[in-house]
């Protein structure tokens, strides 16, 4: 993760201190996890360490105090790197393929392979795909409802890049921030959602 050593140390110290006061089960759980999990493939044990967002969401059972979440959300939104050329609307056909794929980051995935967006796992998107999840809101007619103005494009891009900038403890991964999806891939997903030609907006 993208957390630095001093921060992790501080977290570890604080998490231990706080958890002891809580009856120890959280600290014990963390100790059990650290003891019982092992590296496999690209899934190494350092993945068990928390960054600031994860720490706070764990700490507050995904409902942190608003001053804390406001501050961290702003920080997360700051991490979004927009494409240098300012073009945000990619190829919806490629976007559909990315949305379909759930590949990437598991211990059975080869590192470095193109990672999928996992989108249909949680969202209804194109009406042609009947196998979609309902964890997240339906994105069908996403563009039709919002239009394709630059601000909508930027907003869409940023939400895919780092959903935690919008809702700190959102279940949605930070696809751009963690380097799962490339700039190109996120553009294509923006295309899938916003392009008037995309089946999403038919």
């Amino acid at each position: 993760m993208n957390t630095s050593k001093p921060l992790l140390l501080a977290l570890l110290f604080l998490s231990c201190a706080i958890a002891r006061a809580e009856g120890d089960y959280r600290a014990q759980a963390l100790a059990v996890i650290k003891h019982d999990f092992h590296d496999r493939g690209q899934a190494t044990i350092d993945r068990l360490d928390n960054d600031a967002v994860q720490y706070v969401c764990n700490r507050y059972s995904n409902d942190p105090p608003s001053d804390l979440s406001d501050m961290l959300e702003a920080e997360q939104l700051d991490t979004v790197k927009f494409p240098a050329d300012g073009k945000l609307l990619g190829d919806w056909k490629k976007g559909e393929k990315i949305a379909q794929s759930g590949a990437g980051f598991t211990w059975t995935d080869r590192p470095g392979l193109p990672v999928g967006g996992n989108c249909y796992n949680c969202h209804k998107i194109s009406p042609k795909e009947i196998s979609f999840g309902t964890m997240g809101p339906s994105l069908y007619r996403y563009g039709k409802r919002r239009g394709t103005s630059l601000s909508v494009q930027k907003d869409t891009y940023a939400q895919i890049y780092n959903a935690k900038g919008y809702k700190l403890c959102s279940p949605m991964p930070r696809f751009g921030h963690i380097g799962a999806l490339t700039e190109e891939q996120i553009k294509d997903l923006v295309g899938l959602l916003l392009d008037p030609e995309s089946p999403v907006n038919q």
């Binding site: 379909q100 794929s101 759930g102 590949a103 990437g104 598991t106 996992n118 796992n121 009947i130 196998s131």
Partner: protein, 156 residues
Amino acid sequence: MDLMRRTLLKGMGSTGVLAAALAAGVLRPTQVFAADWNKAAFEAKDFAGALKGIGVGSTAESKDLLLTAPEIAENGAVVSVTVVSKIPATSSISVFVEKNPMPLSAHFQFANGALPEARVNLKMGQTSLVKVVAMANGKAYMTQKEVKVTMGGCGG
């Protein structure tokens, strides 16, 4: 009817060999009448070829041939298909998955009191028509149903 008779004839034609095998304990009695595998039909790459393989030229749609299969399969690896023929004197039922690389999945020949019904689980690579053909008095009857095969799980 045809296939069954052929099987029986073949069985009788080689009675001597079979009797010897039986005596030697190599074969159990029930294996005597085991039909040969219909290679031409099972290895045919399309529905028409598979039909030809089981000796059928044309089929008539029949409402008396009942096919139960899911509209959407939860998993294409196990698609439960049940066929019941109400056509009198039905002697065999064949089950096809039109878009599988080799469409003929299973063929059942009934005798000695067996009712013309069968349940079988099939693999389906993609959304396809499942077709069923029943033979009765030398005529072929057909019914079909589309089964959608979807992606499931996390896919990760």
